[in-house]
């Protein structure tokens, strides 16, 4: 079986499991939207302030709850299933790629819905080109956050405190994504170039993809 067929098969099954378990859209998303709603209430519904902080709150909550989406595969990963993959001859890099593919689809959809919820609840004021830039940033953050979560899941395989430890790895390493995303929208508001920030996001995504593929086999061997 080729690399891509293995990756697609792993992604396909992961999406089927998610459709039936509904962890992202029936559990994480409703909680995230409730958290979004708390902010306008906490700000005493002062529409001027609510409108100003909307995008910042979106990124903060999106990253925070998005980590749960990014780490959901590693949380359900069992040693027996990993053994099955090894003995089936699944390329560790294909497994990383497959998980990143399915996770990327889920994360993009999740952050997309969060973005809609934020737009409705906060009604942020953005200049003309702001929304397309926010949309592009959201997709790039979704890809990067998924890769980071998948990589953190692999790094912490077999460790007792796997889930909290993986979150601790993801949070600081997600900073370039947060900075790139927030500054790209800021750049539109300041009418300066968005290119450096979009390039930062693309470079982060590419670096994480290369790291994930390159480290997949050594990480698998390290757990044996």
């Amino acid at each position: 079986m080729t690399f891509w067929r293995q990756a697609v098969e792993i992604a396909r099954v992961d999406l089927v499991v998610e459709r039936r378990a509904g962890e992202t859209f029936r559990i994480v998303l409703p909680f995230s939207i409730v958290a979004l709603m708390v902010f306008p209430l906490a700000l005493d519904l002062q529409l001027g302030i609510v409108s100003t902080v909307g995008i910042g709150v979106f990124w903060a909550l999106g990253i925070l709850f998005g980590m749960q989406v990014a780490l959901r595969q590693s949380a359900s990963d069992t040693p027996e299933r990993r053994d099955l993959h090894v003995l089936s001859g699944v390329d560790p890099a294909a497994r990383f790629t497959g998980r990143a593919l399915s996770g990327g689809v889920l994360m993009t959809a999740y952050l997309g819905l969060m973005l809609v919820a934020m737009a409705v609840l906060f009604d942020p004021e953005l200049p003309g080109g702001g929304w397309p830039v926010l949309l592009v940033s959201t997709v790039l953050v979704a890809v990067g956050l998924t890769e980071l979560g998948t990589l953190a899941g692999e790094v912490t395989t077999g460790l007792r405190s796997r889930t909290p430890l993986a979150s601790l790895i993801v949070a600081p390493l997600a900073l370039p994504l947060v900075i790139g995303a927030s500054q790209s929208v800021e750049a539109v508001e300041r009418d300066t170039s968005i290119l450096p920030w979009i390039l930062l996001l693309i470079a982060s995504d590419l670096a994480l993809a290369v790291a994930g593929v390159a480290l997949a086999k050594p990480l698998e061997e390290a757990t044996q």
Binding site: R5, Q6, T78, D83, S88, G89, V90
Partner: protein, 214 residues
């Protein structure tokens, strides 16, 4: 006769503790070897070592002619089937989907999946989700997986525990088919009577070494 597994003076450590120490084991084509021992004696570690899932600290280990220290073990690993303590099915998938997923990962077609489920007595339950199935049904799916991939080396770690009589007969039939194809099997269990019924050679695992059972 071709050697399927050869362990010579093999040492395996886990968390700094020596689990297998100077262990020797030879499995030839057509044979099945049984290893008995109490809980914590290292039976599972032995199985994982032979399955190339556990690195060795010292000594030599070769499986199906390839040193386990080799960089690329993919071809050898595809000829190994391991049935461990816990069935590794994905709970949200049906039994047929689980087996289909395994077949796809192994690069096999889907056409024999339903037939394999019928052979193990799960033809009518193929659309049932794994999370709603009993331990014995999940174990039967793993037996169906072995029938699909036709391994040359079968490793059974307490595989017959908790199974009813008909499922135990399936395990015996699976063992027979692997041996008939020129493969070999290693069974580990604390159930000595079960091992004696299916294995030509029986060993006790004590202090990390194998001793011929009386």
């Amino acid at each position: 006769m071709e050697t399927i597994v050869q362990l010579s003076d093999t040492r395996v450590t886990l968390g700094g503790q020596i689990v297998l120490d100077g262990l020797d084991l030879t499995l030839r084509a057509g044979e099945s070897v049984g290893v008995a021992g109490p809980n914590g004696s290292g039976k599972t570690t032995l199985v994982r070592t032979v399955a190339t899932l556990q690195t060795i600290a010292a000594g030599h280990a070769s499986v199906l002619g390839l040193d386990v220290g080799e960089h690329n073990l993919t071809a050898v690993r595809r000829q190994i089937a391991l049935i461990g303590h816990q069935p590794s099915l994905i709970p949200e998938l049906t039994l047929a989907e689980n087996l289909d997923h395994r077949a796809r990962l192994a690069g096999l077609g889907r056409d024999r999946v339903q037939n394999a489920l019928e052979v193990v007595g799960l033809g009518d339950a193929s659309d049932r989700r794994a999370e709603a199935c009993s331990f014995g049904m999940k174990r039967r799916v793993e037996i169906a997986h072995v029938l699909l991939i036709k391994p040359r080396l079968l490793l059974l770690d307490e595989a017959a525990s908790g199974l009813d009589e008909s499922a135990r007969e399936l395990v015996a039939a699976m063992l027979g088919s692997v041996r008939a194809r020129g493969g070999g099997a290693i069974m580990v269990s604390h159930d000595r009577a079960h091992l004696s019924a299916h294995c030509e050679s029986l060993f006790d695992l004590r202090s990390g070494r194998l001793e011929a059972a009386p």
